[in-house]
């Protein structure tokens, strides 16, 4: 990489420790790259040069006092869904285009406490609703591998920023695939943790029972290091789970001998692209060579995960987004005539089409007379999907399959056809419905576009997932490929 800075968090941490460069220098390097390159990707909504420099100065001072940890002074990009005190936190929406959060999300506070430097806030689908990053009020993000294509979504800005080396690591949030799908489409690594591992306090809600924050990075090792700082119970999030502290990087170097991988038949279906099939089979060979055994398993209800997901997610969203009413914060229409006018115009102007579509679907699913047929039924399916996974994990340690059915698609190609767009989430939503951890790592390229390999684990098996991914990355170099445009 230019100017002699390494690209991964791990390597940068070594350089900072040895004094090869300071956090101020590393941060300035990234700020300069963002200024030079981001106009062609639109990965950032807000860049925070002054704030970042101040944090870098503080990090260098911490190091000088001998109080630094491995993350001290490492820059990161923060998805604009995480509230950041005094900084615009838009969630990709016109509704919050003027809203500076008055408090820090727990994730932001924890990364700050670890000494990390926030470069800025990354672009995303509006309120995390989308699989292409085209629903952002701040314009679509472009895929660094091909700027005519989408980066995936909703954490498309974070994925593009890491892929384009506009940040070594980034935060993301995953409600139905929003970390894993853009990671796959941008050729990086992304971890969706077990539901409850990462505090949701200050992470603006889309669908509360599915939302989970997680790290995005070039390598599984970097995911582990960042996840160490992000995970942990939070008294301000009743759904966060108290667990004894764990070092997720401790087991990375352990060999995979004896690891049992399951191939869900429903994810490896014949309909998938033959090139993708071939790529995935090659990844399987890598895992076999590392000592893992592979067998077929079944997730019989996989086919209903998309409808169940869209009912549950939209129902929760329709309620979560009621607070954007133009009364206390966010967008308010000009000269409201009365209360109904204030509500309807503020919301009509503040929300984009996809958000409105999902609010309507969710409202419908919860309405009197429809609740049993939609919301209750979806919750029942959710339990069945969860039971499928539990049954599968009785015989295997991890599941392996594709992250997405295709590589990055062209901007605009699915935007007018939401149903086709929703199918981009076919392999990712089941994990969220079940609350399981999963990650996506680069598995190769098809027509010069990256695709992802998804690993799914049982509850709280992040350490095993990261170990498997790290071992895989120690025998492959797909994750080290850099888009030409990121030069």
């Amino acid at each position: 990489m230019d100017a002699g800075f390494p690209e991964t968090l791990w390597a940068q941490a070594q350089g900072l420790r040895s004094g090869a460069y300071s956090s101020v220098e590393l941060t300035a390097h990234y700020l300069a790259r963002i200024a030079r390159l981001d106009p062609q990707f639109n990965a950032y909504i807000t860049v925070c040069p002054d704030r970042a420099r101040a944090q870098a100065v503080a990090a260098d001072a911490t190091r000088a006092r001998g109080e630094s940890g491995i993350l001290t002074g490492i820059p990161y990009a923060n998805k604009d869904i995480f509230c950041t005190r005094g900084v615009l936190t838009t969630c990709g929406s016109r509704m919050l285009a003027n809203w500076a959060a008055p408090y820090d999300a727990t994730v932001v506070a924890r990364l700050g406490d670890a000494g990390m430097v926030m470069l800025g806030k990354t672009n995303m689908d509006e309120f995390a609703m989308g699989s292409s990053n085209e629903t952002s009020y701040f314009g679509a993000v472009r895929n660094p591998w091909d700027t005519s294509r989408v980066p995936g979504g909703s954490s498309g800005g974070s994925a593009a920023a890491v892929a384009a080396r506009l940040a070594p690591v980034a935060t993301g949030s995953d409600t139905g695939g929003s970390i894993r799908q853009p990671a796959a489409l941008c050729g990086i690594s992304g971890l969706k943790p077990t539901y409850g591992r990462v505090s949701r306090w200050g992470m603006i809600a889309f669908a509360s029972s599915l939302d989970q924050g997680g790290p995005m990075a070039l390598t599984a090792q970097d995911l582990a290091l960042m996840f160490n700082a992000m995970a942990g119970a939070d008294p301000r999030d009743a759904t966060s789970i108290a667990r004894p502290p764990e070092d997720f990087s401790a087991a990375l170097e352990r060999p995979l001998a004896g690891l049992r991988l399951g191939m869900p038949a429903e994810y490896w279906d014949a309909a998938a692209d033959p090139a993708l099939q071939a790529g995935l089979l090659a990844a399987l060979e890598n895992f076999r060579a590392l000592g893992a055994s592979v067998r077929e398993v079944s997730l019989p209800h996989a086919a209903v995960s998309i409808p169940a997901y869209y009912v549950v997610a939209c129902a929760e969203a329709s309620s979560n987004l009621s607070r954007y009413d133009g009364v206390r914060f966010g967008h308010r229409c000009a000269a409201p005539q009365d209360l109904a006018d204030l509500y309807s115009r503020s919301r009509a102007e503040g929300f984009g089409d996809e958000v409105k579509r999902r609010i309507l679907m969710g409202t419908y699913a919860l309405s009197a007379g429809y609740y049993d047929a939609w919301y209750r039924k979806a919750q029942q399916l959710r339990r069945l999907i969860q039971q499928d996974f539990t049954a599968a994990f009785a015989g295997v340690d991890l599941l392996i399959g594709p992250t997405t059915p295709t590589t990055a698609f062209a901007l605009g190609s699915k935007f007018e056809d939401p149903l086709t767009m929703y199918l981009a989430d076919v392999y990712t939503t089941g994990v969220n419905l079940a609350g399981l951890p999963a990650l996506s790592v680069p598995g190769g390229f098809i027509n010069s576009l990256p695709f992802g390999v998804q690993l799914i684990g049982n509850y709280f098996s992040e350490a095993t997932l990261l170990q498997a991914a790290h071992q895989y990355q120690s025998t492959t170099n797909w994750h080290l490929q850099r888009p030409a445009m990121a030069a």
């Binding site: 009743a238 009621s322 009197a368």
Partner: protein, 478 residues
């Protein structure tokens, strides 16, 4: 054929916690607008509710006192509707699975009979904020201090058959929640209010009539008046060939009438669904047992004990046992003076009258039970007559002093000395030959004149019983 009234009450009990049900903000009443609303109460993007464990304990406590079933698992749901003083656009409440179900509360009717009123359920929820419509011209102010204040909504079965029964039930519940210490019971501040579901039907009819719901009644008097008005309105309507429509009505105490607020067709579809931000409330048998042990002796049991243990009449025991502070005071007083019946008489008489006159409650009584007990002992040992004791009590109240000090300082000791009394009697009789003659001639009313004269000369300190005996002896025909 006559009409029958059917009433069910929904009572909103504001739980007396220090902080709110889902946030750390204070619940204190009367603060400057919006100074007790934190990020959670404001419903800012990204905030999450965390349940205040105290409210669960309080709900269980009331459930136990109502002999209800405590749900081992209950859930919070979101009730969705838009209103400016509802920041999140939904209220967190309990819907399908409330924490308390199937309880009962017995009321004593005017004729002395007891009637059991079934409690359908009691559920936890957060209060909304307040819209202030008259503070700003052309605009509505929003005060979110009340947002997130914990409420327990207690719903009765339609077992009440008159406005009087409804008021008795409301009073009984009011006394109970205060007794349990889970609500301050302040009705002016809205800490205890109710909605009344009222319908009428032909006497003996099996099916219920169409009901109207009267919202937000905040006094015992108004619940009676509002229901009376509503019952009359419905009967008038039906007798004139009209129909009662299901609707929500508001009671206007100035005009003493109920008015339609919104009809059934305007009813919201609240789209209830389980709140994904909150875990189910799990109540273990051990937790219920622990709270049961902490449960105070309840008013009914206490009244029965006062009758059995202290020999009080039910009419005396009842008022002493309804308020926990009063009952505690009574027991301390009975112990201190050694005579429970005397203690009961004083509390139900002089003390109740004084509290009432001063507009205060036993908690703020300036005379501690031990001091009042010392005073009552001075009656028993003859130092004071009942009327002298009342004088001493008055001084104790205003000066917060001990009875012996007052007796000493004001020289209020009763004159029990026979010789001294006899001397007084002799003096007065000697000075009133005319009256003596009248009395002896059969005009017995004059007796009071002698008592008055002697009391005057002794500054009211003469032992009234001894005095009467002496007078009678001396006035007897020679």
């Amino acid at each position: 054929m006559g009409w029958e009234t059917v009433i069910g009450l929904e009572i909103h009990v504001q739980l007396a916690t220090v902080s709110k049900i889902f946030s750390g903000a204070a619940t204190r009443y009367g603060a400057q607008p919006n100074t007790q609303a934190c990020a959670v109460d404001l419903g800012l993007p990204g905030v999450l509710p965390v349940l205040n464990a105290r409210v669960v304990e309080m709900a269980i406590t009331l459930g136990l006192a109502l002999e209800a079933r405590i749900a081992p698992v209950s859930f919070f749901a979101r009730k969705n509707y838009f209103y400016p003083d509802l920041p999140k656009g939904y209220q967190i409440s309990q819907y399908e699975d409330p924490i308390v179900e199937h309880g009962r509360l017995t009321i004593r009717l005017g004729d002395g009979r007891d009637k059991e009123i079934r409690i359908r359920r009691a559920h936890l929820e957060e209060d909304a904020g307040k819209s202030v419509h008259d503070a700003f011209p052309g605009a509505t102010g929003i005060d979110l201090n009340r947002t997130g204040t914990p409420l327990l909504e207690v719903v009765s079965e339609p077992d009440l058959s008159s406005s009087q029964e409804a008021a008795l039930f409301m009073r009984k519940m009011h006394a109970l929640v205060r007794y349990l210490g889970i609500c301050d019971g302040n009705m002016q501040e809205g800490s205890f209010r109710c909605d009344a579901n009222v319908s009428v039907r032909r006497a003996g009819a099996a099916a219920l009539g169409t009901r109207a719901e009267i919202k937000n009644i905040n006094s015992f008097r108004y619940v009676e008046k509002a229901i009376d008005y509503e019952v009359e309105r419905q009967i008038d309507l039906l007798e004139n060939g009209g129909k009662v429509v299901q609707e929500t009505r508001l009671y206007d105490s100035d005009k003493d009438e109920t008015r339609s607020m919104r009809g059934k067709e305007d009813a919201h579809d609240y789209r209830y669904f389980p709140d994904p931000d909150l875990l189910p409330i799990i109540v273990t048998p051990a937790q219920i047992e622990a709270l049961k042990r902490l449960l105070p002796e309840l008013p009914g049991a206490r009244a029965i004990r006062y009758c059995q243990e202290f020999g009080l009449a039910p009419a005396d025991a009842e008022p002493l046992s309804q308020d926990r502070s009063l009952a505690d005071y009574f027991e301390a007083l009975a112990g201190s003076c050694g005579d429970p019946r005397q203690a009961a008489n004083w509390l139900n008489g002089e003390v109740a009258a004084t509290l009432n006159r001063q507009g205060t409650t036993i908690d703020l009584c300036p005379v501690p039970a031990a001091s009042l007990g010392a005073l009552l002992r001075r009656i028993s040992d003859g130092t004071l007559s009942a009327s002298l004791a009342k004088q001493v009590f008055e001084v104790m109240w205003t000066q917060r002093s001990e009875p012996d000090a007052v007796i000493e300082a004001r020289n209020l000791r009763q004159v029990n000395d026979g010789d001294a009394l006899l001397a007084l009697v002799e003096t007065v009789l000697a000075e009133s030959p005319e009256q003596v003659a009248q009395y002896r001639a059969g005009k017995e009313k004059v007796f009071g004149y002698f008592v008055g004269q002697i009391m005057k000369r002794s500054q009211g300190r003469a032992n009234p019983q001894q005095l009467a005996d002496l007078l009678r002896t001396r006035l007897a025909p020679p």
